[in-house]
């Protein structure tokens, strides 16, 4: 009995508080940069596609809405031949961003993704890839990785000594 009265009282009280609802879309709420909305694929500081098609984001995705296929560039580096996110399934959990070893995949504060046709919620690489570094301006995976690329030889990556001469007898 008492609790019912209390409930009534609380409801009554709220009649006089200021409304939280805003007049969207005229009035936009503040969204922090780390808000989890529409996913993008970013580029490294040299302007190359960051994603190396490692498949970790796809593996970690709880709703399995990421699918991609690895392909190889002429210099041996990996990149996704296709990269698809089915946003009609995506729950914006941000797990893919956490799993990504290259900072390629990032969530943005854009949540306005309404479509009349569900098929339009399927984003391919051309829709996902942006011309920028996103939240992580400096990182370039291939500068750290030991793989030889077009722009760096063996031994030129971060913290690497030059290639060993296996025929040398010196220590």
């Amino acid at each position: 009995m008492l609790s019912e009265l209390r409930t009534l009282w609380e409801v009554l009280k709220h009649t006089f508080t200021k409304a939280e609802t805003v007049q969207y879309p005229e009035e936009m709420p503040y969204l922090a940069p780390r808000y989890r909305g529409r996913i993008v694929l970013t580029r490294d500081p040299d302007g190359e596609e960051r994603c190396v098609a490692c498949n970790l984001c796809a593996a970690v995705c709880p709703v399995d809405c990421i699918a991609l296929q690895k392909d190889t560039r002429e210099d041996g580096t990996w990149y996704p031949e296709f990269f698809r996110i089915n946003f009609s399934r995506c729950i914006m959990c941000g797990m893919c961003e956490e799993a990504c070893p290259t900072y390629a995949i990032q969530l943005t504060p854009d949540f306005e993704m309404c479509e009349y046709d569900r098929q339009n919620m399927v984003y391919e690489k051309e829709h996902l890839l942006i011309n920028g570094v996103g939240k992580y301006p400096d990182y370039n995976f291939y500068r750290v990785s030991g793989m030889k690329t077009a722009s760096k030889d063996k031994g030129e990556a971060l913290n690497e000594a030059r290639p060993i001469d296996t025929k040398s007898l010196l220590p």
Binding site: K70, R89, P101, V144, G155, P163, T166, K167
Partner: protein, 921 residues
Amino acid sequence: MPMIYVDGQEIEVVQGENILEACLNAGLDLPYFCWHPAMGSIGSCRQCAVVQYQNNEDTRGRIVMGCMTPVSEGARFSLKAENATEFREAVVESLMLNHPHDCPVCAEGGECHLQDMTVMVGHRDRRYTGKKNTYRNQYLGPLIHHEMNRCIACYRCERYYRDYAGGKDLGAQASHDHLYFGRHEEGILESEFSGNLVEVCPTGVFTDKPFLKQYSRKWDLQSAPSICQGCAVGCNIAPGERYGKVKRVHNRYNNEVNGYFICDRGRFGSGYLNSDLRLDYAGIKNPDGSFFAVHQQQALDTAAGWMSGKKVAAIGSPRASVEANYLLRELVGAQNFAAGFSDLDAGLMSSIAAILQATKAQNPSIKQMESADAVLVLGEDVTNTAPRVALALRQSVRNKAFELAEQMGLPAWQDAAVRNLAQDQRSPMIIVSALDTRLDDVASSCVSLAPDDIAAFGYAVAAALAGEQTDNPRADATAEILKAAKNPLIVSGSSMAHQGVINSAAAVADALDQTTSMLSFCVPECNSLGLALMVADGSGSSLSDLAKRASKLDVLIILENDVYRRGDKSEIDQLLSSGAKVITLDMFENSTLDQSDLVMAAASYAESQGTLVSSEGRAQRFYPVHSPAAERLPSWQWLLRLACATGHKKLSKLAHFDEIVAACSQSNPLFAGLVDVAPLNSFRDRGSKIPRQTHRYSGRTAMNSGVSVHEPQQPKDDESPLSYSMEGLNRDQPSSLMPFVWSPGWNSNQSLQKFQAEVDGPLKGGPSGVRLISSTQQGAGVSPQIHKVILKPHQWHLVPMQQIHGSDELSAHTDEIAELAGRGFIAIGQKVAEKLSVSEGDGLLVKQGEVECSLEVRILSRVAKNCIGYSVGFPEAQGLTAGSLVSLEADKKWQRSGPEMIASDKAVFEQVIGGGGASNV
């Protein structure tokens, strides 16, 4: 059995094993790198450290290597003691000092033993701030990709490639922390078993190059238990599929057959499955010779219309399943069914099938062959005709070493010690062949003889064994060796295309007259023996019979068979163009298909299920890895529907695969065991089917959304106990249903040990496959018939040379295999080459009656008098027949091919050279 104590827990162990094996057997997780169940221990990686205590009072103990410490009654160990765990973590940390930051772009990632062990020991943060060592990679051919930075110097690759597989061109170089594992210079790896490096190397140094081109992670592959179709050995494989493509083939453990290893044809020869030349739709021929695509039902109705009330004959196939052949044979009647062998092969196969059922020896599994302490090879280049068997024969010559080790009290797993002890002492292996073989390097003696003389040699050995006088001292010596052996093994086969050779092998086995002796035949195709058993009652027809009857036939049905490979062209032309309607079921365009009136697009082995009978007589089931693409259907389904459409009395009552198997097993006493080959369709493990997908299969809701966002249902598999799903358990089910290996914490193929009942032993799910034939031990009773070929001057005896790459019809359609196969060749001895003044790489015109072929010269080191070899099954050598007499002359118009370089890899190679290359670092 002794008891040991591990962390206070009492464990029953097997006398003679080591602590690592004991722990793994007990289900404990002890990290390791260098130890391999098939190759034993060398104690080089220091990863398997445990603490051993002197007695109950000892609390400090000392660190020992698990893989190097034999168990002993009452011994006390600890895996969990702090000094052991710290030691193991320190080992991984030091291995990681130089390890590149590569996992995301490493093809080993997700199935990397190094990743697993790193997680297992709990190493996480890098403390070392110095620079990492780096290495240049090598170009190792089209099959294997090299990324040397990732090496942890466990020596597994070298020990596998050189010690186990007998390769010569890969090994350890340099020293201390400069160790390098590669070739002396860049180039194609020579071993026929190089692909196993991918699975042996615990890191991503050696990875599967064709797989890398279309790479997917292990967890994303849909796999099914399958059987290699590359040859008759019947190795168990696990192909992995994604996005409708078969991406790679991995070994599937079967301790009686292939164990941990398969050959390169088996691993890399399935690329043809993804070829654009595969047939997708049924087609009916237009008058102008082109085909127009029709629906399945239309094709069936047309075929049924042609067939009703007419004379129908059919040709089966040694590369199609028992079930498909059975259906076809029932459909047209046994007397109208030709097995699909060439006439010569038909004779050889029927005698092999008969000998195997009567010989006094046993027909061994590969595992049994490894135990042979004396081997006689009659006329086979086993490495090219039954590759996996050759790998087993290489192990068999080590029995001498194991015998010596036993005398010294050394356990067999003490690999380095056993090898040091034995040095070059090997068990005897006598190879009698016309030409070089790839096993010559481990043979105790090689005898070069023409095919007829090989047969004569075999008979002489048999005579000597029977105590008769022979005038052949080498045969006498061979007989002595075989007689002295506990488990002698005779290997022969059909590749010489010579009945006498086969009979003489049977004669030797009979003369040995021991139940422990073994007789094994290498036969050509994956189901050759199954088909031979099917027509063993002699009721069938032969290709040439059919060709003669062709004009009286109305319809001819050909099952997965390019008959132009089986007989001479004029005969086959007569067969196919005599007016009968030709209906062909196949998956690839070929000459036979071009001559057909109706084509039904058959599913590949990766899209259908069936049973194959290996050369051992072992019936094994393969399952679809993915459901058939486009309008393909498995041949058995085409034939079953055709039988229904024509109203076949018996067959139209069958609806499911299991019913066909049951009907087939009743039709022939030899096939009685077929029903036990694998569980029925109704089999459920803990209530569900066995999943083909891993539990972490990704992209389920996105892979098809590019086409439509409305997700289709997973394909249903109504014919097998496997499902196209990730739901269900892949654990402890019958071994014939094991699609992949994975266990918590063990993502790499090393998780296999969780599926084995004991280390290196059978699987927990029991044996896989059923041996259909066992010998009555009465003796084959062959009678020696030796006929001698008389050669005119300048005539040579043509000896077939099977090639692992190129001779097999289907795998040769794989780009990498075609590259390795190169051009068709003629192989001659040095003397002949001098006489004809040609050298390696020149051209020779080979004339065999009307047929004339221009072939590349290869020079052999060991050639029997008047013999020359030719590459069988290569398009350039089409028309040449084994055993015929030919003349040779230098080809004036011959264009030598460039330096030994493969076109598509040239670019990569030049890049490497441009970048310095390993040779000029």
